[in-house]
């Protein structure tokens, strides 16, 4: 019995050795949780900064391919290296619903919506009040409306989610396109009355005018032309806005013109004197959050890489290759000739004003190339033209075609990219477009209003708006009788070109097939059908939404 007592005492001692209850509480050490991240205005502003970053990623910097899904396979450019599922050389391949290439757009746009919803759902319980509350709400609704507008153009009717999702949901159904437009209009209308004025926001921040601009555009899509005119007019008539009519900015003393100045480094923001810019997507080289780097091409907006030709491979009849490449001059930096301009883009649309339209000047639409390899003195300094190419060189071809200089920054690449400052030779990490980018600017607002007037059967006012834009470019006026939707789309090509998210415009108008096949005769894009106007709903979304049916778009 004594032994048993000892045993019991030992067991007792043993069992009372214990840890504190809080020992197992889980405390994250290097990340935050939703529980403590949505309290103050500062927290919500952090979420909004993230939304800016998300928009920049989706439309500009995610990778070398997907931002350009907005321009490939249409009337503007075609694939210089048809081989893969990207770049829309074959719609049967590129728009296969199982391919993940297009899924990323859907996912990123819905992430913008989801983050906006989180802000909106968590605001009421937070400590944020007054002007801060209105500012945060207006921003969140702007980004949500902007994302829904984009989804509706690309996919048609999509599921509408307006609250934060806190538990898994797998039974979404599609709303109609009209319902999605209505939601975008509601959000953008709220933002247009609640966002701050353009002269009070920081460079790159959205203002009420940005909301009005997109509101006008969605009204167009919803065929509410009068509302569109009103919203566009709110932008155009604002005293802080004006088209730039004289030279300005960082390279205003270099040979060029005012249209060229619009796209030079550091010239996009209002603080640079630019009164035309509405929403400028910010790039800052080698700064955290700047999304541009001189040490790697990834993260930068790779428009130069896509749109400038691969002059390296220009081979003359004798086998000589007279271009040094890649060089920071008008040969196009480190372009690789993937986005070859269609003949429609380089020639057809300029016919009436080929020599006087500033937008077709040698500074802006590069057709003349100067041999730049100092090791080949027999060629060095000679100039050749896409309009009269030397023997052995095909135009357009991947190595030689006319392109818009707004994709590059001749002589102004970040200094770390130069391998040789004298020759301008760049390293293989070049290929970005090292300047801020317009998501929208006033010239486009005029063209939106022109489209609205056209829709409202007022070609006179439509022509008047178009002519304001043309006048700045020194182009001849258009007669009201000649204004139709194709004219406006051509004018958008001339004014905006590769700056525009062209697919959104054509999809909004239902003209992807017509413009690509019948108007511009895109020489590469195969298997384009009238149903190609909308992208397919991603197969993975249909499959993971297993408790309800997400109907696929017709033709897929």
């Amino acid at each position: 019995m004594r032994n048993i007592h000892k045993f019991l005492v030992c067991t007792l001692i043993f069992c009372t050795v214990s840890c504190k209850k809080s020992y197992l509480d889980e405390v994250p050490l290097d990340f935050a949780s939703t529980v403590n991240s949505f309290k103050t205005a500062q927290d919500f502003n952090a979420s909004i900064y993230n939304l800016y970053s998300a928009v920049r990623t989706e439309f500009y910097s995610s990778d070398e391919q997907s931002p350009f899904d907005y321009i490939y396979g249409l009337d503007l450019v075609y694939d210089g290296q048809p081989s893969g599922p990207q770049r829309f050389n074959d719609y049967a391949v590129s728009t296969n619903p199982s391919n993940s290439y297009l899924t990323s757009h859907w996912t990123r746009l819905y992430k913008i919506i989801s983050e906006s919803n989180t802000i909106l759902s968590r605001l009421p319980a937070s400590s944020v009040t007054g002007a801060d509350l209105v500012f945060i709400q207006a921003n969140a609704r702007f980004f949500r409306g902007f994302a829904y507008r984009t989804l509706a153009y690309l996919y048609g009717g999509v599921p509408l989610v307006l609250q934060e999702v806190t538990s898994p949901k797998t039974n979404y159904t599609r709303a109609t396109q009209a319902e999605v437009y209505a939601q975008a209009i509601s959000d953008l209308a709220f933002a247009s009355t609640s966002l701050p004025a353009i002269n009070t926001v920081k460079d790159g921040q959205v203002s009420n005018l940005v909301a009005y601009h997109f509101l006008a555009e969605v009204y167009l899509a919803a065929k509410q032309y009068t509302n569109a005119i009103t919203a566009a007019t709110a932008v155009i008539s604002n005293p802080n806005m004006a088209l730039m009519n004289s030279r300005f900015g960082s390279q205003s003393t270099d040979p060029g013109d005012v249209y060229w100045d619009l796209f030079r480094p550091k010239n996009q923001n209002r603080s640079a004197g630019n009164r035309e810019a509405l929403w400028v997507i910010q790039f800052e080289n080698d700064v955290p959050g700047g999304s541009s780097s001189a040490t790697a091409i990834a993260g930068s907006y790779q428009l130069e890489r896509q749109c400038a030709p691969l002059t390296r491979d220009v081979t003359l009849a004798g086998g000589k290759k007279p271009f040094l490449w890649p060089v920071s001059d008008y040969t196009g930096g480190r372009g690789i000739g993937w986005a070859i301009s269609t003949k429609y883009f380089t020639n057809t649309i300029w016919q009436s004003d080929f020599n006087n339209d500033m937008r077709n000047s040698k500074y802006n639409f590069v057709r003349q190339f100067t041999y730049n390899d100092p090791n080949q003195p027999a060629f060095f300094g000679q100039t050749i033209s896409t309009e009269n190419p030397p023997a052995g060189v095909t135009v357009p071809s991947r190595v030689f075609y006319a392109y818009q200089s707004k994709c590059t920054t001749p002589g102004r690449h970040p200094s770390a990219l130069y391998l040789n400052v004298t020759t301008g030779l760049l390293s293989s990490a070049a290929g970005g477009t090292y300047a801020d980018q317009y998501m929208c600017r006033l010239a486009e607002t005029y063209l939106i209003r022109a489209e609205a007037y056209l829709g409202a059967n007022d070609p006179g006012n439509a022509a008047a708006d178009i002519n304001i834009v043309r006048a700045r470019a020194n182009a001849s006026s258009v007669l009201p009788a000649n204004v139709d939707i194709n004219y406006i789309l051509d004018e958008r090509m001339r004014e905006l070109g590769i700056e525009e998210k062209r697919r959104l415009t054509l999809a909004r108008l239902g003209l992807v097939y017509d413009r690509t096949v019948n108007v511009a005769h895109n020489p590469v894009a195969a298997n384009v059908k009238p149903t190609s106007n909308l992208w397919p709903i991603p197969q993975s979304e249909i499959e993971s939404n297993k408790d309800a049916v997400l109907t696929q778009n017709p033709g897929y």
Partner: protein
């Protein structure tokens, strides 16, 4: 019944071996006594007036001699004088014993002392006085050490004695016909007829089946004979001669149900898995317990030479002691300790091994590369209609990448792969000293291992030291420690293997002037750039487990043990390269460390009552915490990189990051073992586990188990004499699999987001990156295991058969959800998974002659897993989970040959590309045309090891095999899986492997499509990974004792060995086991030849 043919095959093997065994039974021979060399031992002694007993003791102590005499018959108190210098023992004995009328007789190192007249008188009294005094010494066969406690029984009587601490016995037998039976646990019984000798020395052989082996079972040990679950001790010794640097490599194929993966780089730790995959996306890590303490480090941090044993807990009942962490199996590693001996054992071993690829693969050379360009451009390079005639107008030069034209013109054929590789080696040196006395045992070791891989700069150096020490402070208190430090060095940056394999033989890394080409083909940086600059990669460990054992006074069998285990891992990763960051130079310094401690309080009560009821009760209360932190600083843009990572501040752009996490565990365990007369055994275990990573609503889990065994061979009614042991086992229990830390929390990531305005400040953003799940729970694996352990024909055939069936519920899975939610997936508990399998382990002694032995080990394991249920309704297609199918189901498009010239491919497909089967016949290839093509799991694993010993030679050969069966063990093998680099220009510019069977008009029946264009759907190809590999061969020679004694050594062994000598497989590419096919960036599995030496002092 799928496995029936296989079972038949296995049984056939068994019968064959049985036949061999039967034909040799009875060949065991008794060894004759050694020559009386002991009497020639040179002795020095100087004693005056000393008692005889004291003199004999002194001789015993100083000269490995054992005297046997009867104190009743011989008066050891008589005083003697003896003085001699370096004279034979016989002289001294004559000098001392003759005056006392004593005589002696020697056998081995045993000397029997008798009265001078007794031998004669006994001899004369054989028939009348039934007493013959027999003495002798019993030693162990392997180590030659004396065996104390051996029972010696006169056959047919109850008379028995046992050996003393020197292994010496003496027994009186009635007559010369008497038979002595020598028995000792763990050893085969030996029988000797007394005959006319009075000295019988016996060498005892260890049982092959070895049921007395003591296995580690978690918070304690158990004799194998008492175990009720499926616990296996790995046979490390057979593989010790293998050129391996990681202990897991010693286990590859050696334990049924323990699956060890392949390695392809220096110092790499292979993957481990026990009994198939029981989780989808929960942790698949096997719980590793080192000397009783959970070990979170990488196993390359352990010196294999310090490891004494590895025990694996496989079934639910034996794993239950580790509760929520045990579902994937438990590996218990025990380090060495000192063994009792008359003097310290000093062991030195050294080996050198070569390292070359087991399979030689080479990228295309110049001519093949140029042909490849033509084949990609076949429509231009050849003439219609059949495209077999070269097109004279086609100029391949004009199609080459611009950077490759010069190389084309001047005949360049640069061997990138050759320049990036060289034969490697392993150089291994080990030194250890160990010993044990009654109070203290110790093991001290040091090791140095250097391995250079086949890829340049692929290097691994391990320096390790260990001290294991245990001492008895008082009779009731022992304290001890197991401590070690390991410094692993992986420094050195290898060239980028993927780029090496991609580079064309028409490009060169250096210009003609010898300067390095930064980007020889204009798009991929020179893969050798990474080898410039400095690269430091240190992974260091110190570990100390400190323990005390208190034998509670007054309560027999009650002890309390406290373990305080500490592991500290710290890693340093420093790099500096002038070419990084677009040639502006980049440096980085990353430091991280992990500290964990465990405190276990273990109360044990172990007692046998009335020699019938055996009770072993263990209670554990413990806590464990693990803390990780890292700091990372990088810089880019260096005008002068000479100071490298020691002067990061010289960079233009500097970045810092830091990370941290912590885990806490708190647990209680109880285990009761009850044995009745060693016939009926019962084990009941329960564990309560708390873990910080469990969701707020689920902090603690309870994991019970019970198991029982029946030792049939111990039943009195069991009469089969050819059966040595037969035990049936059955167990049932549940284990858990932990959730990942923080998996239940909604996380918000924060980081630099945006900059407003030119030269503006960075603004930080936040984004919700995961959904929370406050009900997220551990997975519970519940299962049954039945098994039988057997030993027949005195251990000639022994083995184990196990069958198990487990169900994992609440499977942890990151379920894909529509990204409409803003999230791609959520961590949740989704369903039920079943695993069933059979494991057979068979050991046979096929031949046992005096000089020649042949032993075999056969291991077989099969496992089949199947998803039984999933949350909600139906399959989770996007997550690749299908009810009724294995986890590794392959759901994809079925290919059916190629689109050939003359055929019109459907939209989105091309001639020279795969034809996909339109399963639903709707004329289109859509996602509905996917089907289950097979699965990735193997059908079974089989290994056969054979050991042949002839005199001092030992040959070991081990063949390992993994077989897929029908549509099983498939692996993705697609040379074009890296889409971006094998399309368009890149396909022309980049290289691939010679021997890739790609389509061209000349090769219409190819395996792989033509590159250049990518079809709308490109499913790739799955291949059977089944293989048979001659994994180990070693031949060792132990020098004779005569020679080693002369050299003053205990043992001297020389060996040669080979690893991965041959592989038979249908897989194309590097290696089926490492699942490296024709894709880029893969490194080969290594074939090695080793030469080694092992010396024991």
């Amino acid at each position: 019944m799928k496995y029936k043919p296989l079972l038949v095959k296995i049984m056939r093997i068994t019968f064959l071996q049985l036949a061999i065994v039967l034909s040799i039974v009875g060949s065991s021979l008794a060894k004759n006594g050694k020559a009386q060399a002991v009497l020639k031992t040179k002795i020095s002694i100087n004693e005056t007036g000393t008692e005889l007993g004291a003199v004999l003791n002194k001789l015993e102590k100083n000269y490995d001699i054992n005297f046997v005499y009867s104190p009743q018959l011989i008066d050891v108190k008589q005083k003697v004088n003896v003085f001699t210098q370096m004279r034979p023992l016989s002289e001294i004995l004559d000098q001392v014993l003759t005056p006392l009328k004593l005589t002696y007789e020697a056998s081995g190192d045993v000397i029997v002392i008798r009265n001078l007249n007794s031998t004669a008188s006994q001899a004369g009294q054989i028939n009348t006085a039934p007493q013959i005094m027999v003495t002798g010494k019993v030693v162990d066969e392997k180590k030659g050490e004396p065996l104390p406690g051996v029972t010696i029984k006169i056959k047919g009587t109850t008379t028995a004695v046992s050996t003393n601490s020197n292994g010496v016995f003496s027994i009186s037998v009635p007559n010369a016909e008497s038979v002595l039976v020598f028995s000792f646990i763990g050893y085969d019984n030996e029988e000797r007829v007394v005959g006319n000798t009075t000295i019988i020395n016996v060498v005892m052989k260890e049982n092959q089946h070895n049921l007395s082996e003591v296995l580690v079972v978690g918070y304690g040990t158990q004799k194998k004979s008492d175990i009720t679950g499926s616990v296996v001790r790995a046979d490390l010794d057979s593989f010790r001669q293998s050129p391996d640097v990681n202990v897991l490599q010693l286990l590859q194929g050696a334990v049924p149900g323990l699956n060890i993966g392949q390695v392809t780089s220096a110092g790499q730790t292979p993957s481990i898995q026990v009994r198939g995959q029981s989780t989808i996306s929960g942790s698949t890590g096997v719980l590793i317990v080192l000397d009783g303490i959970v070990y979170a480090g990488d196993l390359s941090r352990l010196n294999p030479n310090d490891i004494a044993s590895i025990d694996i807990l496989k079934d639910a009942s034996s794993k239950a002691i580790y509760g929520a962490s045990a579902a994937n199996g438990v590996m218990l590693i025990t380090s060495k300790k000192g063994k009792k001996g008359d003097k310290p054992v000093i062991n030195f071993s050294s080996s050198y091994a070569s390292q070359n690829p087991a399979q030689v693969m080479h990228p295309l050379d110049r001519n093949e590369f140029i042909q490849k360009v033509k084949d990609i451009l076949w429509q231009q390079a050849y003439l219609a209609p059949d495209y077999l005639t070269p097109n004279p107008a086609f100029n391949v030069r004009s199609k080459l990448d611009a950077t490759q034209v010069a190389g084309y013109d001047d005949g360049t054929d640069f061997d990138w792969y050759g320049a990036a590789t060289r034969p490697g080696f392993i150089f291994d040196n080990q030194l250890s000293v160990s010993n044990a006395t009654d109070k203290t045992n110790f093991y001290v070791s040091g090791g140095y291992t250097k391995q250079t891989g086949f890829i340049i700069n692929d290097q691994f150096i391990r320096k390790s030291v260990r001290v294991n020490l245990e001492t008895k402070v008082f009779n009731w208190l022992s304290i001890g420690t197991q401590t070690f430090a390991t410094l692993n060095d992986y420094s050195g940056a290898s060239p980028d293997l993927r780029s090496i394999q991609l580079y064309s033989p028409l490009n060169t890394p250096f210009s003609s002037s010898g300067a390095i080409n930064l980007t020889p083909n204009g798009s991929i940086n020179n893969p050798f750039l990474g080898t410039y600059g400095n690269d430091l990669d240190h992974r260091n460990t110190i570990s100390g487990n400190f323990y005390g054992i208190l034998n509670i006074p007054g309560v027999d069998g009650l002890s309390y043990r406290v373990n305080f285990g500490n592991n500290y891992y710290w890693n340093q990763r420093y790099t500096a390269n002038q070419y990084s960051a677009n040639f502006t130079g980049a440096v980085g310094k990353s430091n991280d460390d992990t500290y964990d401690y465990s405190i276990d309080n273990i109360l044990n009560y172990n007692r046998t009552f009335n020699q019938v009821h055996k009770i072993d009760l263990t209670l554990v209360y413990g806590a464990r915490q693990l803390e990780f932190q890292s700091t990372n600083a990088t810089g880019t843009g260096y005008n002068n990189i000479a100071l490298g990572y020691n002067s990061i501040q010289q960079g233009l752009i500097l970045k810092n990051t830091s990370n941290a996490y912590s885990d806490e565990y708190n647990y209680q365990t109880g285990r009761l073992n009850y044995g009745y007369k060693s016939k009926y055994l019962l084990t009941a275990t329960i564990r309560r586990d708390g873990y910080s990573g469990f969701a707020a609503n689920k902090k603690f889990g309870l994991f019970p188990s019970v198991a029982a065994a029946w030792v049939a061979s111990n039943e009195p009614f069991f009469k089969l004499t050819w059966v040595d042991d037969l035990k049936f086992r059955a167990g049932y229990g549940s284990n858990g699999n932990l959730t990942n830390r923080y998996a239940s929390l909604a996380t918000v990531s924060q980081g630099a987001a945006y900059v407003f305005g030119d030269n503006g400040a960075t603004l930080f953003g936040q984004q919700v990156t995961s959904l929370s799940n406050s009900d997220l729970s551990w997975e519970t694996t519940t299962g049954i295991n039945v098994g039988v352990d057997f030993s027949f024909l005195k251990g000639r055939i022994s083995g184990t058969i196990d069958w198990y069936n487990t169900n994992t519920n609440d499977l942890l899975f990151n379920v894909k959800i529509p990204t409409i939610t803003g999230f791609g997936s959520i961590n949740t508990n989704v369903g039920k998974l079943n695993n069933t399998g059979t494991e057979i382990s068979l050991n046979t002694v096929n031949v046992r002659l005096k000089d020649f032995q042949w032993r075999s080990t056969i291991n077989f394991a099969s496992n089949k897993n199947k998803i039984v249920a999933l949350t909600g309704s139906g399959d989770l297609v996007t997550s690749n989970l299908f009810i009724g199918q294995p986890l590794g189901a392959i759901y994809n498009y079925q290919t059916n040959g190629m689109w050939q010239i003359g055929e019109t491919p459907i939209a989105g497909f091309y001639v020279g590309g795969n034809k996909l089967v339109d399963q639903n016949g709707d004329g289109k290839i859509t996602s509905d045309d996917r089907v289950i093509l097979g699965h990735t799991e193997p059908a079974y694993r089989l290994s056969v090891g054979n050991t042949f010993s002839y005199k001092q030679f030992t040959l070991f050969a081990f063949v390992n095999s993994v077989q897929g069966g029908k549509n099983g063990y498939l692996g993705y093998n697609n040379p074009w899986s890296d889409l971006g680099i094998q399309q368009g220009d890149n396909a022309i510019r980049n290289n691939w492997f010679s021997g890739t069977d790609y389509w061209s008009p000349r090769n219409p029946g190819a395996t792989y499509r033509v590159t250049g264009s990518v079809p709308a759907t490109d499913p790739g190809l799955y291949q059977d990974r089944s293989f048979i590999r001659l994994q180990e061969v070693s031949l060792s020679y132990d020098f004779s004792t005569r020679l080693t004694t002369k050299l003053g050594l205990k043992n001297l062994r020389l060996y040669i060995s080979g690893k991965n000598l041959a592989t038979w497989t249908k897989w194309t590419g590097w290696d089926p086991e490492s699942i490296q096919g024709l894709a880029y960036g893969a490194a080969p599995v290594i074939k090695a030849y080793a030469l080694g030496l092992n010396v024991t002092l």
